[in-house]
Amino acid sequence: MRPFSYVRTSDADAAARAVGANPQAKFLAGGTNLLDLMKEDVERPTQLVDVSRLKLTEIRPARGGVSIGALATNTETANNPLIRTSYPLLTQAIVAGASGQIRNMATNGGNLLQRTRCQYFYDVAMPCNKRAPGTGCGALEGLNRIHAILGYSDKCVATYPGDMANALYALDAVVRVRGANGSERTIPIDDFHRLPGNTPETDTTLKHGELIVAIELPKSSFAKHSYYLKVRDRASYAFALVAVAAALDLNGGTIRTARVVLGGVAHKPWRSREAEAALAGKPASEASFRRAAEAALEDAKPLSHNAYKVELAKRAIVRALSRASRLA
């Protein structure tokens, strides 16, 4: 690991100022991804500003919904009674990820910022436009079994690896951030992560020095009919090949509104408005779910080793919607 200076602060503004003042500085919270990447020499900060003691851990009702502290741990969030009863999709998504130990360490803000597990990104001997812009994409014509089928560019085919964010996209979350000058702004979750385009080195729309302080969820009508389905190489403690966050607002047997968000298929959680449009106003039936699945994957363009993901994603959508509607 390269040398870095370490400072800890209990003041959010001081933290944002410290990172804002040094282009090579980073916030440290749970460290479950950052420390790993520093050991691999992928991340090379010259300063870490430890924000893990900031009092941003509260999970409280707010404006009919809930405000979730950025520094509450994944474990605290998933097991919070309000989250479990009003946003069970979020609980399911969080506990589908990582391990008990890692969820005890990982914070909600850090979770949003975790980086891809593309093996070319992790291996500093390999080309990777995300890690070293301009060096090319090793995965485009390489081993791309775990890579994207939607929304990628010829610069980067990596996927966003997380689970929690997939649920947040389905639940219309808003990310509240504080800048180095102390001002706050909110970012709708759909605008938070980026598609790679020509600048895959930039994962999110956060500016350097901006600190995530909370994740806000509006009142939800999906609590009764939602389901998080994760498909992976082994039954636990692995990243998703394909994940589906499915949520339905039902009026009897008819779908009022739906949310379908795919994980493991793109550079960001992939909300399929095509699938959602195909479901609105339709009966909650397997036939409807199949049509939605077809609509969601219509634009999918698999790479040389991941054609399986297209069919897998379709079946996963049907299954997740079936579980959400309690048909299966």
Partner: protein, 288 residues
């Protein structure tokens, strides 16, 4: 054996002075065996023959001597524990960490890069916590920080400042093992033992999470609260601890017994004298 077989000291680090003795210690059979060995090309064969000679002549004793010499050389080079930690780089960005480890207050001055696992092992001589993958994938380094199970390989020692750390060494009360330790022994919850400290610390953390009614990936209804874990719940909740030996059935039985008080029946037992006698009678032989 030709004398020039020992004219230099390759990777084993054996000193030349030892080799005449080594040669003398070989009996005639061993000498013949070594002479019959076909010469292998280059250093590989050379080293292999030296290895064989060393093994036959000195057994583990010479290797121990060799290790001792290496350690002494290392100790001469590196005067302080800090130097060992820093390896090929000087200590930089010194941070002071004051925390409680297994109930005792400790204060360390460390390079900011030092992770909790290395601080425990290299500075506090608590080598129970193991370094497996060193990147958060195996769970061997699991310890409890403020009562919660975490990975010490992905925790900066600096960020443990002011916290209470419990390692495998801190679970027993004197000679009285923690119930989880006793259960792992009872159910053979290990084979080589390398992952065991992490498994046990993880299981102890799991018990508290279960008491608090935490849910998991296999919990059917996350809106309901239960504190009673099925075997599948325990399997899922222990999935962050990998066991290369595959001692999972024993681990599961141990965790389940401590969690629920339900004993898992042994499916085997040592043979009893009476059974042996019966088999002998039936076989009319004494070979069993």
């Amino acid at each position: 054996m030709k004398d020039d077989d020992f004219d230099e000291t390759p990777e084993t680090g054996l000193s030349p002075e030892l080799t005449p003795e080594l040669n003398d210690d070989l009996n005639d059979d061993e000498r013949a065996l070594l002479d019959e060995m076909p010469d292998l090309a280059g250093d590989v064969g050379h080293t292999r023959r030296l290895f064989l000679g060393t093994t036959i002549a000195g057994g583990i004793g010479l290797f121990a001597l060799d290790l001792l010499a290496q350690e002494q050389a290392l100790a001469a080079l590196q005067a302080s524990p800090d130097a060992v930690l820093a390896a090929d780089a000087a200590v930089q960005n010194l941070v002071k960490v004051a925390f409680k480890v297994n109930g005792a207050a400790k204060t360390l001055e460390l390079d900011s890069r030092v992770v909790l696992l290395d601080a425990l092992r290299e500075r506090l001589a608590l080598t129970g916590s193991k370094k497996g993958c060193d990147q958060g994938q195996c769970g061997a380094c699991t310890v409890l920080v403020d009562g919660k199970r975490v990975l010490s390989c992905l925790t900066l020692a600096a960020s443990a400042d002011g916290k209470e750390v419990t390692t495998i060494e801190g679970l027993a009360r004197g000679e009285q093992l923690h119930p989880m330790q006793a259960a792992f022994i009872k159910y053979d919850g290990f084979q080589c033992g390398y992952c065991t400290p992490g498994q046990i610390c993880s299981a102890v953390g799991l018990l508290e999470e279960a008491r608090r009614g935490h849910v998991s990936h296999v919990t059917e209804d996350v809106t309901a609260t239960t504190t009673r874990l099925s075997d599948d719940e325990i399997r899922e909740r222990m999935s962050g601890n990998i066991c290369r030996c595959g001692a999972y059935p024993g681990i599961l039985a141990a965790v389940q017994e401590v969690h629920s008080g339900i004993e898992t029946k042994h499916t085997w037992h040592f043979v009893e004298e009476e059974q042996l006698a019966r088999v002998r009678r039936e076989d009319a032989s004494e070979t069993v």
